[in-house]
Symmetry: C2
């Protein structure tokens, strides 16, 4: 290779980045005539991607990828779908879209780099640029020289220190071998009852996999007071939980496993701080920890989340060593802090950036936004950016707007309801995130993806209010929910829409006698009257189209909770009552939102 | 109303905007104690939205909306779905999601403004701030005073000057009355054969409506050389056309209607420059023209696209007159020029901005991005930003990357292929637009919406390469097509992936003897061998996993077209051959892309 290019970085970059770029170009120029040795540790997602990209850009590079496992390059996120039977064979997760098995031979022949499986990395000598490895088959140690090293060491599921955790039948979902073992038990009919410890993404996907096709009586036990903690807010998680329960999955939150019941070395149940649950199989999914021992031993910088620290070019504190995927932490572009986000998609994108840099083409990965999506039976839950809880935890003075609206034009048949929440910062009106629950289709994804794309530009509610979401009746509303969320947030931020959330509604409803709270239902009599009959003096039905003339029926002073089916007519009512100086609040998401969370008045 | 707020505009604004804001705040302060008269002309989409918003913000405003029609506030974009039968009754398009009919009474009672239907605006007196109107029922003229006026006059379908265009049975889809008349003929079984003139969005939606439920033998005649001209590029439109044809719709492009055949005043057919097509019904859908006569007569500025000129606050050249929706033109935030985009979704969003400004709350609508989506039987076509053709027409030195990839993880069952194209500017690597064809679900929408959101920030391919599209196997790929499009575009822009498009492939394939072109098929023998048998010395099958050792079989000098099923393995092959100095090009989208466009080798 006798030519090299000086690439122009379009994005903003600091003086420090500039030094990196120039030094890399010079370095690339210097060594472009010689073959460069690139060593990659870890072959699941990021490793093969980085190796393939580097080799495409620089065919002269000598690249070796090592992995302690016998199997590499598989879609780890697909494990629940292999267990469920959606993916018939484990090989499906290891094959390309054109049905080639991604093994060592494939990478050698098609991608041009060497793979050594069954090879464990023991120690990095950064001075000599050598990696000590052990061949797990022969037991022999060997020193591998490198010019550039990549740490793609991934993460390991956390095993909670609970007595009996080593019993037969207790699995974490750490790799494809575990997946095969779990599915084998299911398909042999050995599992009648299962407990999943941890209501995060993998736990819930595994719960669905077992309960759906295999009809296993499945219980999820989550220590926090909601499922999908730290990912989505409690109001949305409650809707997801109701859906799981409708589908036959038992969910216990705010509950902790105390010990495992074991007979003859085999698990028979889980004892929690509240009950005992029988189980033939237990899935541990209480989080993962970045694999950083190798990096720590080599003296590389480790961050506050326990992940390896990398710069935008994915270089560790040693510029000859790159790292990415589950073993690193990285900037959170929304909060401005750091974050640990073990996601296959991030690993793939980072892998490509590392591959470019390995080949001397400077590229950057600026950080993460926090996008997430999960299928739960017939529902989908997704979010991007910050939840209200995490925004507050990170010091934002934030609030949430909650909107219920169809995913198509409301007159178009077969539409489904979306239950979405937008998190915004007070004062700046900046949008920090969006989340929601919708049908098992891409309609929620479409709204969340649009906000995911825009978040790094620090948009305000006005930006999302006018976001040009593609419109035709079969796919969206003319004023789509994503725009309505921003409009609603703006009305709340500017004090026109004084909302209460479901918790606040329940508190008011429960204490309605003491506080003499009046609930004014502005829906049509067919909807409102039954509740008037039930709750007498505390529930009044004045449809919006009578409100202007019946305003005087409303008491002054007494707090009035306006309710409708989704929250928008109640907002209209609040505007109508604006000049009357009534003390009104509006239940966000209305009765429809309550119902979806399982709250029936 | 004794209070008013000074709102802070977060977005960038010019000194001119600042003067507007200050002047509006002062003006608002001045007149906040008195009732203000707001007059709105036009009641389909923008008018009612602006009126409702203004009244919510300022309950003291006196608002009157006039419309010459008897029916207002309907989802005009829903007309094809009313005609198709998806929406059973025309009232469905005029009702809220909670089944209230949006008539004059509804707006008076629920939204607090007056509606006068059957009232035509004749003349604006800007000096006296009066509008001359005619009551179409009584025939009487009347002068209506205003403080602020809103022009929401919409657009009118263009009727081409073709002999016989006034015959019975020829309809444009201009309003709900026409829709009722068309559906009435269909439901009475009076239509066996229909011709749609114009292959734009409305024409194709109407073609589907008639062909699908009503089983009408339908022919679309389009003057340009593709359907959906100016919206999407020809390669994608060809795929859409094939799908329409599969569904039984006949499509003629590059064909012009010359005259209508008429018997006893009724249309019986269409004579084009190429043939005669029998028809009981003809739909004219060859575009719309903004209704600007009133504005022109009043001396308001009209732009180069024939639409009323407005500033970011949607004020015309007279600051007391606002305009929006189909009658205005506005900045194109991608091209930097102007555009005319008659879309119900834009009208709704602009209506809210106008409503805010009417109530003294400064808000802006910066311009349009150019988002579009359409359902075509089992397919969906969507785009945002510029097509390659329109980018070039507007002076951009642009190219397109075309990618075929599944909408879910490739191992996940029931995925559908997405055929997508990204338009990028050379040099800056700026992304100008994205478009594609996919299944009739929201999966294409999700990708297009993400790019629609980001376009106004002038993203580069690197921004989209790392766009954090939410990932789980049932909804996306770990390296999603939206990222792959950006990666592919970057590889093309930087000269690593030398692509040819389908046209260029066909030209090379047709002239393979003369030019001695060699096609190297890098797929497995099962796919490649049949074409070797068919095209002998011009078609060679060397699967990628044999390419490194069989490189010498490839001739030097002779042009080699690398082909695989989607274009990605052929790119790998090009990289493998990089050092061998072979003269290679890669068919974008591969054989799979060709097949979707109806091209079978």
């Amino acid at each position: 290779m006798t030519e090299f290019l000086i690439y122009t970085i379009i994005a903003d970059f600091s003086a420090r980045d500039f030094v990196f770029i120039i030094s890399t170009v010079i370095q690339f120029a210097r060594c472009s005539e010689m073959s460069r040795k690139i060593l990659i540790i870890g072959g699941v997602a990021l490793g093969p991607k980085a190796a393939s990209r580097a080799k495409r850009l620089d065919p002269t590079a000598e690249i070796t990828l090592i992995d302690q496992d016998s199997v590499i390059s598989y879609g780890g996120c697909g494990i629940p779908y292999y267990v469920s039977g959606d993916v018939a064979e484990a090989e499906g997760l290891r094959s390309t879209s054109f049905h080639s098995l991604r093994d060592a031979d494939y990478f050698a022949r098609e991608k041009g780099f060497a793979v050594r499986t069954g090879t464990r990395a023991l120690k990095i000598d950064r001075q000599k640029k050598e990696l000590l490895v052990k061949d797990l088959n022969s037991g022999k140690d060997e020193l591998l020289p490198y010019d550039k090293l990549v740490l793609a060491t991934g993460s390991t599921p956390f095993v909670p220190p609970i007595p009996g955790a080593d019993a037969d039948g207790i699995f974490s979902v750490s790799d494809i071998h575990k997946a095969v073992a779990i599915k084998s038990r299911l398909s042999q009919g050995r599992v009648g009852r299962a407990v999943v410890l941890g209501g995060g993404a993998i736990g819930l996907e595994m719960a669905e996999a077992m309960a759906d096709l295999w009809e296993v009586e499945t219980t999820v036990v989550e220590m926090m007071d909601q499922i999908l903690p730290r990912l989505i807010d409690k109001n949305i998680s409650l809707m997801a939980q109701r859906h799981l329960e409708e589908k036959g999955v038992t969910v216990y939150t705010s509950e902790r496993a105390a010990s495992f019941l074991v007979e003859d070395g085999k698990v028979t149940g889980v004892k929690t701080d509240k009950r005992t649950i029988e189980a033939d199989l237990v899935i541990l999914s209480v989080g993962v920890r970045p694999n950083t021992q190798l990096a720590r031993d080599a003296g590389l910088a480790i961050g506050s989340f326990g992940g390896i620290v990398v710069n935008k070019r994915m270089q560790t504190s040693d510029p000859n060593i790159y790292a990415g995927g589950d073993c690193v932490e990285m900037p959170d572009l929304v909060s401005g802090g750091s974050s640990f986000a073990p996601m296959g998609s991030l690993a793939n994108r980072q892998g490509r950036v590392i591959g470019s840099n390995l080949a001397g083409k400077p590229e950057t990965f600026d950080g993460m936004i926090g996008s997430f999506i999960i299928k739960l039976f017939d529902s989908c839950v997704s979010k991007t950016g910050l939840s209200l809880e995490s925004a507050k935890a990170q010091g934002f003075d934030a609030l949430a707007a909650f909107v219920v609206q169809a995913d198509k034009a409301h007159f178009y048949p077969d539409s489904s309801m979306l239950y979405m929440q937008m998190v915004v910062e007070k004062g700046t009106q900046r949008v920090l995130g969006v989340q929601g629950l919708g049908p098992n289709s891409s309609s929620l994804l479409a709204r969340v993806a649009a906000v995911a794309a825009i978040l790094k530009y620090k948009p305000t509610v006005q930006d999302i209010a006018n976001l040009e979401f593609p419109y035709a009746p079969p796919y969206a509303a003319a004023m789509d929910i994503i725009n309505v969320l921003a409009n609603t947030a703006q009305n709340i931020l500017e004090g026109r829409n004084r909302v209460i959330n479901q918790d606040e509604f329940i508190e008011r409803f429960t204490n309605r006698e003491e506080n003499n709270t009046l609930f004014v239902d502005v829906r049509a009599p067919a909807q409102g009257e039954p509740l008037v009959e039930k709750y007498g003096p505390h529930w009044l039905n004045i449809p919006n189209n009578q409100l202007r003339e019946r305003m005087d029926e409303l008491p002054a002073g007494r707090e009035i909770v306006l309710v409708c089916n989704a929250g928008s007519r109640a907002y209209d009512a609040m505007c109508i009552l604006q000049s009357s100086n009534k003390n009104t609040v509006n239940l966000q998401g209305g009765i429809g939102g309550l119902k979806k969370a399982g709250i029936i008045l």
